[in-house]
Symmetry: D2
Subunit: 349 residues, 4 copies
């Protein structure tokens, strides 16, 4: 019963197989090997973006930070949601990589930037000449940090604001696959066809060991990204092992199938939670994350039974039994129906 995070789960066996298969003899380092070249092409094909510049790195923080640093100037402010991972959980990595850009926080329900709020905040900048921060890129997270998903129309609304001010639009896609599963559209539709300029295409939370791709649909910044990646110490020498993971991820829609599995486990969980009158759902879950409240007594019972997940506020170990405390549950591709059902059983008491 591990619902702590989708980065606690195992690597999919096909990915491990790909690593083993890639481990034959010598290969050119630093991404000059054939496997990497093929894989980058596979990604271009997936995104229907033959001219895109594509890069592999091993961490989402790196992918987002280098992409944003490439799109932003140090005197810019980057617009993102109040709950954005790039703001809350990267120890100022975007500030570090960008050389000191600022982040302007845009509120909006369901962890999604409201495009009117965004527009108003953009309007508040660049009206004081060189004195204020300059308008920089916009970054949205898809799947959001609360497990919700921007609809294509919502993405287009954000993109329309970006276009109005000629600002680049970045998508943090750490859980890209889960959102795509939910929307049932193509990777191109969820990105450049909706106005996204650069995307972090996550793999680590969805069955890979440690690989994320960055896709710049306009390749004009390709060399700058390359230099920033090297300077940030993110250019792997044995690059074939990043490529191998990513290639196996794309083959036979493994990436989509894993996300589907994670989402299905979540849906099963949600169904059970909804049947439990004690549980209050904070958002309507549509991917692989649940944010909900239940009593301290239930938290204690679950933890005593070995369930692993985050209690987001308060100390579940001590205090009034009936106090409602917030939880976050994440299902990864390897979650089992047994675990889900067992969790629901214990929660029911």
């Amino acid at each position: 019963m591990n619902f702590a995070s989708d980065n606690t789960g195992p690597v999919h066996p096909k990915v491990m197989d790909a690593l083993i298969n890639a481990n034959t003899g010598y290969a050119l380092p630093y991404g000059k090997d054939d496997l990497t070249k093929q894989t980058l092409q596979d990604i271009r094909n997936l995104f229907e973006a033959p001219d895109a510049a594509v890069f592999l790195v091993s961490l989402g923080t790196a992918a987002n930070s280098i992409a944003l640093a490439t799109l932003a100037q140090p005197w810019d402010t980057i617009f993102c949601h109040t709950l954005a991972h790039i703001h809350k959980d990267e120890c100022n990595a975007p500030e570090f990589y960008s050389g000191g850009a600022k982040l302007t926080l845009v509120s909006g329900p369901d962890a999604k930037m409201n495009s009117d709020n965004l527009r108003n905040l953009i309007l508040k900048e660049e009206n004081r000449g060189a004195h204020g921060p300059q308008r920089g890129p916009i970054s949205l997270t898809q799947t959001t940090e609360r497990g919700t998903v921007y609809s294509l129309e919502e993405i287009k609304n954000i993109a329309s604001v970006a276009k109005e001010f000629n600002l680049p639009l970045h998508m943090d896609g750490a859980r890209f696959a889960n959102a795509l599963q939910t929307l049932g559209c193509s990777a191109a539709e969820m990105t450049w066809k909706s106005g996204v300029d650069a995307v972090t295409f996550g793999g680590t939370k969805n069955g890979l060991m440690a690989v994320e791709a960055v896709i710049l649909f306009n390749p004009k910044h390709a060399w700058e990204f390359e230099l920033r990646r090297k300077r940030g110490a993110h250019l792997f020498s044995k690059h074939r092992f990043l490529a191998a993971q990513m290639q196996s991820y794309l083959a036979s829609d493994l990436w989509l199938n894993l996300a589907k599995k994670a989402n299905q486990s979540c849906a099963r969980l949600v169904k059970g939670l909804k049947e439990n009158s004690e549980v209050q759902l904070d958002f309507e879950p549509v991917t692989n994350m649940v944010f909900a409240h239940w009593t301290r007594a239930s938290h204690q019972r679950l933890h005593a039974a070995g369930a692993q997940y985050y209690v987001l506020a308060g100390d579940y170990t001590t205090g009034p039994k009936r106090e409602m405390l917030p939880a976050r549950l994440v299902t990864d591709w390897s979650a089992t129906n047994e675990d889900v059902d067992k969790f629901l059983d214990i929660l029911r008491g």
Copy 2:
């Protein structure tokens, strides 16, 4: 016949096995898993340094840059050899991570800093108050960038200069194992017992997929390193897979055996090169790297036969046949006697 670099070779099968063994169910992320804890302890044991702060990262550039940034202030200058990898081949990563520290280049024969030169250059700083750069850490590379090795006495000489000025001493040990094999001493002797304060303990060039350890013998900077690692986007979520590689590397002296094998292949190569009157060795090879000159005609013959290695200057494809051009050869753990002998045969013509 691939002697291009020790980062072009395969991962050792035992390391692959360790990755597969680690891939069971859920594990706490970000280094909080048991495997990581054990592995860090294994490293402390190896270095006889029970209090050391130990970290795993995936790239040597990251290991060196974060370590140096932790030891240096942005207004410092870091002292290193003219040929140091941190100076020549990291696209200003140390400058980036340190927030703009400078590198002062110290010359010395055999790619090793001469301690008198080092002392003189240190004396030239901090005599102009706040105007000049301040004296910062000293960084030596062991094995050096030319395949030579600092003797323990030479390390102690450098460390003695460091102590005189109260400067920390860092060792870039991308090829730590190869040097240790050559010196036949312990890891502790080659580091803290000789006055080294922080070391990058390399694995990637010696049979791992992508893992390096940083050991800070004085743990006072441990939390700062942790924050710099996160901010630099080098804190792996599925950390167990870094640990698994490193643990298998240390088990049964695999790391030393692989280095021994690489060094032996190199020695076989050197023996053959010395018997070839056309070849001029630039340094006496003692680890797994050869720097030598031979004629363009021989370079052409070798490349035509499929040999892979770097010609360091000049265009081997065109020009006078008898002109001597410099080559770099690196043997990794997987090099075979057959390949070495074949190379020597072709070189002989």
Copy 3:
């Protein structure tokens, strides 16, 4: 009728005299001259802080940014009010000087941080280990960006939160003198006696040409500040001319008298505004700044008559005559009663 800003006004004649008097023969550069030494001592005396480290720079942005960079780590977040000048009007200078620290915005009425809001925001950080930003210094502006003033008790409340979390407290005192006049307390009482650790003591907005002092009450960071000042290109060679300004500013309470004059002009202005039923004051003015609304027609009449001040939102030149538009008025030491009265007359129509 210039009420645009207190940085548009002239230098006080006594300050010009001091510059001329300082211009005799040679003097040691970079602050080693006697005039600088005396002046730094004058500041220590004023603040009753014999051990304080004191520095002169020429711009408030530099004073604040270097002070904050000295108090913050790059992975920290600095807590300041939503309207703080360091956030809105310095083109990311604090982010630049600190190497990428973040700013967390604390709301509160009257442009003053509410200490409960501050405490809650501090509590939200450092509960995610190395993942989130770390808690950094707190910066308050006295006089605030809206012309209001923290009472000593309010400063102590902020300081008490700072102490609780062991965070340094910085005061941006660009209009320090105006606030002190209002509070009628001593410089020591408004700073270290109320828990402030570092203060920017402004002069440029109050009759100097371009000088601000930074006082670090705990001198432990003195040398770091010195290096950061030099590295930021803010160490004047002909330093005596900064000192001369500051010395004349402190002599015979010139600084307090100038602030008194500016505040009195403002009070006269406010009295008249209150008598004008069209005018809505946004804050109760207590120093030298007024934020108020009046009709577009009145804005047009004033501008036509040559009045200079900022209309903070909307286009005063076109639109409904009776629409209320916000204005900011600032009185400097050289404002005359005639100008104030003339302005009020025209506004009355």
Copy 4:
């Protein structure tokens, strides 16, 4: 007898007068005042560069660092002479402003980069893809740090290398006027007509209080410079007082006359030094700086008599009387023949 530095001398009375004249009533801040506009135009006229972007800052370190940061990328290396002030005496300010660019040191006699050495060092970069630093701007100092001067032909030779590699050429002109006096050419000839792209036009060492101009002959980077200046905390609010200094400096060739006077004092000094058989000149002085050796006994005699100048190495107070120690003498515009002659007399013993 103060020959310590041309930044220890007084401000010229005409410049003080200009400051007083500028101190009338209100003026728009941040360079929007008429005086600034006129002065920037005066500089464009002087340089025969109607399209140039021109900026005033108060320190040479700021001028050079912001200019170089505007011309360089963080992953570049800036080429400058081994003795360059930007390398030795700015506490890593260029590294700070550029976000971590490197400086490659180019040797050459008489403190001037040899264009062949420069070319060879440029050729050594950008041949390792993203691994090494990238080729960045070239910076030469005119007058050099040893008081020598690049001839127009030498500047053109450097510029020709810059053009060959499409690199921008920056001139640190802290003592621009002194060099121009020596060469007897126009400001345009010594800069853009010889291939210089950006110049720091110094004033502080030649009679101003604290003003330097930066001229970007190609204005494409104008807005970036503006933002970097603000973010670096170098945008003066009471900007008219920078402009006033610079305008008076240009009026009636004051700047050239002051440099002429400084150079003449130096020539008189040199003449006397050459007549003294004990003195060894290190360079042939052609501007306002002398580097020479004489005995410790003479150093002691001069200092006892109150002479002020730097002894560059060794302790003049103790040691063998006849040991030769190096001195640096700088004459500023206010040096008198009496002081020069007195100095020579005492040196003669």
